[in-house]
Symmetry: C4
Subunit: 120 residues, 4 copies
């Protein structure tokens, strides 16, 4: 179930946080569901406003598993810069479903946003 390619146009990891780490750290997450019976090999490519894209970031989402990957934790080939506009394309060799979430705790009370990614 799902698509092989998805996009998120709005990416932004706030620089600051309030509250206990890591639960309340400001973060962005790409949530991937692989409901099939074959492990999915997934690559992320990160796009910026003023430089060439970075990638691929490589993830594996097991068969019948979900992976909620924080962009904060990506480090190969490079960390995702904080306080910087970005976007992301997700490509998978198996059909998957992708959703995007942010927790913003720059102020003392956290705010949340989510949307299904765009299946392309």
């Amino acid at each position: 179930m799902g698509h092989h390619r998805w996009a998120i146009a709005e990416g932004y990891i706030p620089k600051a946080s309030n509250g206990p780490e890591p639960e309340m750290t400001s973060h962005e997450t790409v949530c991937i569901l692989n409901a099939g019976d074959t492990d999915a090999q997934v690559t992320l490519t990160i796009y910026f406003s003023d430089r060439e894209p970075i990638g691929p970031y490589r993830l594996t989402v097991g068969a019948r598993r979900t992976l909620h990957q924080r962009f904060n934790d990506l480090d190969k080939p490079a960390a995702v810069p904080r306080g910087t506009d970005y976007a992301c394309i997700i490509e998978s060799d198996q059909p998957v479903v992708v959703q995007h979430t942010r927790l913003d705790s720059r102020q003392s009370e956290n705010a949340l946003l989510t949307t299904m990614a765009y299946p392309g």
Copy 2:
């Protein structure tokens, strides 16, 4: 109107809450609209990052009715664990429309997110 199968990739019931129960308890809800003239028999399957899926959870959504089901209240075949990443596939024998919402009251002011689920 709608589809027979939907997916939510981002599931997470916060462990903590602030404010009067049950209204302000941190929760996640799957909202199902059955606008048709036949009762819909619906099953949920919950996916995790590190174990096999759990299900089916069985729900009935009456003809011309909406059901806003908190994941917090599901208990057969097992409760949905708190503070744990999950995902969900919703299957229905009638076409339905599915939307996903979270209220997070871990901090003293609540945050909200919503998205239409992915029709697969």
Copy 3:
């Protein structure tokens, strides 16, 4: 541009509010864009968990206009009850685009959610 029929599965007008009215009153809004050159005649039908649907509520969205209609302000054929789960189907004689938003000010800081409605 758009569709003739849309659905929102998650409807809920919080009972309480904080902050100056009407701006910060807890509310739900259906936002309709009619980018075409003909006025759109729109009807809403409200679905509940435990009773028959109510409607039609009749709206006109002018040619090349947007209407952001608070569910709080609907009163014919009946007001939309507060603190009650509902859902909504939007039907239009012209193609329109529909988005759903809630502002929840039950606690002292407001929370927001939005999603495009489901085009059916």
Copy 4:
């Protein structure tokens, strides 16, 4: 990847803000991803509830770039009024992906919303 035309039905820039500018200024943003190898020429048209649309606003999104454009900063042919309901159609000569976000800091803690725009 993407579409040539998108719509956002819910536009509203809150009049007031709390927190350091420009980061925490209440704002709305249209996030555009151009993953292709040709610069995209993009035009925005803004729709209102009670007057004719304003536009085109002209933007360029470079090849393999994302642009997160605040509606607050648009000024040609006219600024987008604050505290006013609006909607937006985005047209591009190249396929792009469009997402819509608001940060509302009218109260002391910020709230967020996002959704993918509607591909029409």
